[in-house]
């Protein structure tokens, strides 16, 4: 049990090893409900590995992860999603052969129940869920601004919109916490602003807490309220964007000397 009921996610001593390499080393942090929490660090510093360990794509080699004060260190990944922890992947993974709308409907999977017998006999439950699923998916597409592309195959979307489609899939799982891994990677400045605005809008309108990895410093410094910095798998700093960018160690490891927050 966490001491503080306000913590939505808490990691205690989380460690992940690949053979002799310690990719994530004894990391402690917490995220409060309603926060936008950022994570930065050089390439290979273990950010995505930490994401994968929290969402249980990998199993932790040490430490504990609490979500909503419940220990989820050994809960299977699909069950974690059901509890309200959604995520996107680096390089905006989507289901490429399906349409935008179908992608979001797949995201509704864990909020629906119909099964083999419903599919074969087209039961009222199936028809109700299909109708509701479509409506809810359309609402999500309107929120993220993809409603006019709903019938496009995601593989045919421009890269910038694919990232947003990835977020839409995660939104459809009805997350309390959304972990999003470099949603602005490869986007132009205008698209980056759209994505950051979308993250803020999701928090404001849906009360979703955000955990964000981003390499675009201007974007993350202006979006996150607190930032944690990883280097060689260890946490080297945590604080407000201003505190983090003034930190000696962070400047040496990542930002570079003379870094100033812009914007």
């Amino acid at each position: 049990m966490s001491e503080n009921g306000n913590y939505l996610l808490e990691c205690r001593g989380v460690t992940k090893r690949f053979g002799g390499l310690v990719a994530v080393n004894n990391v402690d942090f917490y995220i409060k409900k309603g926060e936008i929490f950022g994570m930065i660090g050089p390439n290979g510093s273990g950010k995505s590995t930490l994401f994968n360990t929290i969402s249980r794509v990998y199993s932790a080699d040490g430490g504990q992860v609490f979500f909503n004060r419940e220990d989820i260190t050994h809960v299977p990944p699909y069950a974690i999603t059901v509890k309200g922890l959604g995520r996107t992947y680096q390089g905006s993974k989507v289901f490429p052969s399906l349409s935008v709308l179908e992608n979001v409907i797949v995201g509704r999977h864990c909020r629906t129940r119909s099964f083999l017998q419903d599919a074969i006999f087209r039961t009222p439950r199936l028809r109700r869920e299909e109708k509701e699923g479509r409506e809810k998916a359309l609402r999500i597409l309107e929120l993220v601004g993809l409603a006019d592309r709903k019938d496009t195959r995601v593989a045919d979307l421009p890269y910038g919109l694919r990232s947003i489609a990835g977020i839409a899939i995660a939104l459809a799982t009805e997350p309390k916490l959304l972990m999003t891994d470099e949603p602005a990677a490869g986007l132009n400045p205008k698209e980056t602003l759209t994505v950051m605005d979308l993250l803020r809008k999701m928090r404001a309108e849906m009360g979703i807490t955000i955990f964000l990895i981003e390499h675009n410093m201007r974007a993350i410094m202006n979006t996150a309220e607190r930032i944690m910095v990883l280097n060689y798998g260890s946490k080297i700093c945590e604080g407000t964007p201003r505190e983090v960018s003034a930190d000696e160690q962070v400047c040496t490891a990542y930002l570079g000397r003379g870094y100033r927050i812009q914007g």
């Binding site: 969402s55 794509v57 299977p76 990944p77 699909y78 974690i80 999603t81 059901v82 959604g86 995520r87 992947y89 993974k93 989507v94 289901f95 490429p96 052969s97 399906l98 179908e102 409907i105 797949v106 995201g107 999977h109 864990c110 909020r111 629906t112 119909s114 099964f115 083999l116 419903d118 599919a119 074969i120 087209r122 199936l126 869920e129 299909e130 899939i169 995660a170 799982t173």
Partner: protein, 328 residues
């Protein structure tokens, strides 16, 4: 809107008329017994292929033991009929269920592996099944196989006339088609496709991927099982050579040529692969060479198979027409 509904209804009417007419036409052709036999084999391979499409096509599990489940359906149903005098339709069900049991035995451990590793382990299991069938003389008749399998009878109609088999298999193929379509277009089917498109993303999107892979594998096994139970009485004789890796590769080529991940692909592919040797009788010695070259060409130029190509062409035609309309 109503125009497209009308078109759909019209399409179904034409399709049903065609399905009813084809056996009647064949019935009036010379050499009808052989033509019926070919049609029935093609229909069985369609059914087998539709089940395979579910696991291999829609879920992306490159399973090469599908033929073992087909053989289980054929052997179990036949043994029940011959040795235990069970009613054919009961043994038909038992055959399908035995395929599910064998599917669980093969699938549950194999599905821990991914990609090529999964394919290799399924080949190994398929060989084990084949070797058991060859050597378990007291049950399977070994290499002699099972002889004099009785004809099916249904509501007092006996199936001495091959036309009755053709109609029965058409009905079974239609039912299988509807089953696969209903599954794929439901929550379950979308989970299958999500696994194929990205297993990790599917997992963190809340899909129990292990469970759905097993469901897909077992549903495919079930379909293969009853296809086998239909195959035995048609052939009236089965032996292990009906269920070799070579036959499995034919099922695979039929799916690739017809178009995996499409509803019609397995049917078109089965018709193609059964018709090809008949068309190529003068070149029979080169059959596998021609079939192989065809496969390579299709994989390179039409990765979606015949049906994938057809849908692409239809999409191109629609876009061209709508673009033309916009210009006016």
């Amino acid at each position: 809107m109503s125009n497209s509904t009308l078109k759909k209804v019209l399409g179904y009417v034409i399709l049903i008329a065609l399905l009813v007419a084809v056996p009647l036409v064949i019935n009036n052709l010379p050499g009808r017994a052989y033509l019926f036999h070919l049609l029935c084999i093609a229909l069985i391979f369609s059914i087998l292929g539709m089940g395979y499409n579910l696991t291999m096509g829609f879920t992306g599990l490159s399973n090469l033991a599908h033929i073992s489940m087909f053989s289980a359906g054929a052997y179990v149903s036949t043994i029940l009929v011959q040795r235990f005098d069970v009613n054919y339709w009961l043994s038909f069900l038992a055959g399908a269920l035995s395929a599910v049991v064998l599917g669980a035995f093969i699938g549950v451990p194999s599905l821990r592996l991914r990609g090529t590793y999964f394919s290799i382990i399924t080949i190994a299991f398929a060989q084990v099944v084949y070797i058991v069938e060859r050597n378990w003389f007291s049950v399977t008749g070994g290499t002699d196989g099972l002889l004099e399998i009785p004809n099916i009878s249904l509501f007092g109609i006996d199936f001495l006339n091959k036309m009755n088999y053709a109609y029965l298999f058409i009905v079974m193929a239609v039912l299988t088609f509807l089953l696969v379509k209903a599954l794929v277009q439901s929550r379950v089917g979308r989970a299958f496709i999500a696994i194929r498109d990205g297993a990790d993303l599917a997992l963190t999107t809340g899909i129990n991927t292990t469970m759905y892979k097993i469901i897909s594998f077992l549903t495919g096994s079930f379909i293969a099982g009853y296809a086998g139970a239909l195959y035995a009485p048609l052939m009236r004789f089965i032996d292990p050579e009906d269920f070799t890796l070579g036959v499995m590769l034919n099922v695979l080529s039929a799916l690739v040529i017809g178009g995996a991940r499409t509803f019609w692909g397995p049917i078109i592919g089965a018709l193609f692969i059964i018709a090809l040797p008949e068309v190529l009788i003068p070149l029979r010695a080169y059959l596998f060479l021609i079939q192989g070259i065809l496969m390579v060409l299709i994989i390179i130029y039409f990765p979606g198979g015949i049906m994938g190509g057809v849908y692409k062409l239809m999409g191109w035609w629609k876009r061209r027409r709508s673009a033309g309309g916009a210009n006016k």
